[in-house]
């Protein structure tokens, strides 16, 4: 009698308290996130212009319009957006991650002034994206007196105006975004490195591993959870990019720096084509979903193992 009742009693009590806590946030989540998401799905199947009281159902016309615009000689905004998002994604999961990890490794050792460097490298994260966009577009890339041009002028004869060249513009924007991202990644890795068990490192030293082998076989695998987070954050940030592009070029010149979020905004709010904008948003969601599912399935698998 005494053994079973408390357990049963405890189980019953545990059941409703956590759910009660969850009701508030869940309600907000439903209203502010899920609701609009479902509404966007619905809108993507209409030709609503954002103003008229009625929206006509047009099925998958919006999606057809987007995908049929691929492959032209002058790439469409959608084509540019897809390729720019891809470039952004691939760059973000390699460059800031690599540099951030390297910086974290270096600054993790007893380097003089390491806190100063960490703070300085993290500082761009504190600035808001539009501010960074303005700093880079006027201070660095401006063809009349910007930093980049002044530097290039010393070697190159006719330095390009980064934000005006259609092949260079997206890289210029990605560079500015990556500059900001490096600090964040570095801090994450610094925290991760602190959690690496020093006894394991000592053991590897005893086994005669050199610095590279130590990194490759001991440190990096132990950083796996941090790397997962870092990669997911990088992917999500790269797909979400809007502020930088909008402030620096508004997607120009002639759509060359357009990304899906910018395209969605222009279609929905500039061109009064809510349906088309919603369709673009749905495509963006679908792309993000692929990566999120990959991440979640990995994380859930790990949890089950525990």
């Amino acid at each position: 009698m005494a053994v079973t009742s408390p357990t049963v009693h405890q189980k019953q009590k545990m059941n409703w308290t956590p759910y009660l806590f969850l009701i508030g946030p869940l309600a907000l989540y439903l209203v502010w996130i899920i609701g609009p998401m479902l509404y966007t799905f619905y809108l993507s199947l209409t030709d609503w212009d954002g103003i008229s009281p009625e929206a006509k159902y047009v099925g998958l016309e919006n999606f057809e319009a987007l995908f049929s615009s691929l492959g032209r000689r002058v790439p469409s905004a959608f084509e540019y957006s897809l390729s720019n998002n891809l470039k952004w994604l691939l760059t973000f999961i390699t460059v800031p991650v690599g540099i951030g990890l390297g910086l974290a490794m270096v600054l993790n050792q007893d380097v003089k002034g390491d806190r100063f460097f960490k703070m300085g490298i993290f500082l761009p994260q504190v600035l808001s994206l539009p501010v960074i966009a303005l700093i880079w577009s006027y201070g660095v890339y401006s063809p009349r007196g910007g930093l980049l041009v002044s530097l290039l002028n010393m070697g190159i004869d006719d330095p390009p105006a980064m934000l005006a060249e259609k092949h260079l513009v997206i890289w210029a924007i990605i560079l500015a975004a990556a500059w900001r991202q490096v600090g964040y990644i570095m801090i994450l890795y610094v925290a991760g490195l602190k959690n690496v068990d020093p006894t394991l490192l000592d053991a590897s030293l005893v086994d005669g591993a050199n610095a590279w082998e130590r990194f490759r076989h001991v440190i990096f695998p132990l950083l796996a959870p941090v790397t997962t987070i870092v990669v997911v954050i990088s992917i999500i940030d790269s797909l979400r990019s809007f502020d930088m592009v909008w402030v620096m070029t508004k997607g120009g010149p002639a759509n060359a720096s357009s990304v899906l979020a910018v395209l969605m905004y222009i279609q929905a709010f500039n061109n009064y084509k809510m349906g088309l904008g919603a369709a673009t948003a749905v495509i963006l969601f679908a792309i993000s979903l692929v990566f999120i599912i990959a991440y979640l399935s990995r994380v859930m698998k790990d949890e089950l193992e525990y």
């Binding site: 009660l20 002058v74 105006a161 934000l163 120009g252 010149p253």
Partner: protein, 459 residues
């Protein structure tokens, strides 16, 4: 056991309280107005015994609170000079009409173009808004989002005081929806001193323009500066070359979607445009600059010309103000009638306006001879009200008026004459052309596809 349920109850209480707090209506807007009036009254009642003062203040607060019905006015005049005058006019109105004070909200020009969509469908919508004439306004009028203000036109006598052309521009199906307030002309503005030094006279024909570019290039001066970051500055060149080459009527029909973008006449415009590239007429990397950024070379004397609206004089450096003059865009085909861009700004009211009466009062003020005269004196814009004293116009304004009076047809501007979606595609096409002139056939084919889709919907 008991502790757990206590915690839960407290938590529920907190949640309930916060929900209630969130539901309390926000303080009404007139608070600031109340404060100013109270201050003035305080000044008057200084000699009264303190206790009485306090009572009076409370009374006054209540009174003013009941009577004030603010007018929400959203303005796009974000640039420093227009903003100063705009706020000056609002203040004048507020002093004359303390019971319907105008609550002004100004955001920058470019962002307003996006924001207006949200304004018009908001509830309550702002009462009065700045906007452009032409298709831009029609787009909303056709959707029933704009208030019919024919009664204000009638009451204020604008049907007589405003020129026919402007009245026609503001009307749809015989009813007035728009209040035009000022217009400005477009022309090629140039530095007089540079022209004098190089012995150049303002070009009147296309060939003369090309020769001018060559002469300036030889001297290391940038012939024409332009900032195409936001695209519409490039559209100006399209407008003018099209009007000079093919006539303003063809241009207008193209804007209205009645002509094809693959018409050889349209391609001819771009071929002429290419001649400007061949003669190195434009500043390099134009797409990296906003139109204001591109003013810098003109200010410094590094560039000579800029095809721009008259509002360029607001932003030109002070030292350079007297050195600026303009000439009409050169003639290409002397047999074609002359068309000019003369965009007209103005105001309209939303159909969902909360304070339609107050809004109409404000409109009546803004459209009056008084307000229009101030706009002329302070901003150098041309007024629509024919009662404004013509002696007020300085030589440049008189020249501008003559320019427009000499035109056979006056159009608004590329992105105001055609629908927003067509304008977006068209301007992107022009930017693509600027970057890669060889791709013009593909660009025009794409634009034609957009035109058919956009204008087919309207039929």
């Amino acid at each position: 056991m008991k502790n757990n349920s206590k915690v839960v109850i407290v938590l529920l209480a907190i949640v309930a309280l916060s929900l209630i707090a969130a539901c309390v209506p926000a303080q009404p807007a007139p608070v600031t107005v109340v404060e100013t009036v109270v201050v003035e009254k305080e000044g008057e009642t200084i000699t009264v015994v303190e206790t009485v003062e306090v009572e009076k203040i409370v009374e006054v607060e209540k009174e003013v609170f009941k009577e004030v019905s603010p007018v929400a006015y959203n303005s796009m005049h974000g640039d420093p000079e227009p903003r100063r005058v705009d706020e000056m006019l609002v203040q004048m109105f507020n002093e004359q009409n303390p019971d319907t004070p105008v609550d002004q909200s100004t955001i920058n020009h470019e962002d307003f173009k996006q924001a207006i969509r949200a304004y018009l469908v908001a509830d309550p919508a702002p009462d009065v808004m700045t906007w452009f004439a032409g298709n831009r306004a029609r787009f909303f009028i056709d959707k029933g989002l704009i208030l019919d203000i024919s009664d204000v036109w009638e009451e204020q006598g604008w049907n007589e005081d405003y020129p026919k052309g402007f009245r026609a521009m503001s009307s749809v199906d015989g009813k007035q929806y728009f209040l035009p307030s000022s217009w400005y002309w477009w022309a090629i503005f140039y530095r007089k001193s540079i022209f004098e030094e190089q012995g150049i006279t303002p070009p009147e024909t296309w060939d003369e323009l090309l020769t001018t570019c060559d002469t300036l290039n030889e001297q290391g001066i940038i012939p024409i500066t332009i900032g195409t970051k936001f695209r519409w500055t490039a559209a100006a060149w399209f407008d003018y070359i099209n009007m000079r080459l093919n006539g303003p009527e063809f241009h207008l029909n193209l804007m209205l979607g009645k002509e094809s973008y693959e018409d050889p006449r349209v391609k001819a415009v771009f071929e002429k445009w290419t001649e400007l590239f061949e003669h190195n007429c434009f500043i390099e990397d134009a797409a990296a600059y906003s139109w204001q950024d591109a003013l810098d070379p003109l200010n410094r004397g590094e560039a000579a010309m800029y095809l721009m609206g008259q509002f360029i004089t607001d932003s030109v450096a002070e030292e350079v103000q007297d050195d600026i003059d303009f000439f009409r865009f050169p003639i290409i085909d002397p047999d074609q009638p002359i068309g000019e861009d003369a965009p007209t700004d103005g105001y309209f009211m939303s159909a969902n306006a909360k304070n339609a009466e107050g809004g109409k009062k404000f409109l009546a003020f803004m459209g009056s001879k008084e307000a229009q005269t101030i706009m002329v004196e302070e901003l150098g814009r041309l007024p629509v009200h024919s009662g404004v004293d013509p002696g007020l116009f300085n030589p440049m304004q008189q020249k501008g008026i003559e320019l427009i009076q000499g035109a056979d047809l006056v159009v608004q501007f590329y992105d105001r004459d055609t629908t927003p979606e067509m304008a977006d595609a068209g301007m992107n096409g022009m930017m693509a052309f600027w970057d890669d002139p060889e791709a013009i056939d593909d660009i025009l084919a794409d634009l034609e596809a957009v035109r058919q889709e956009v204008f087919a919907e309207e039929e």
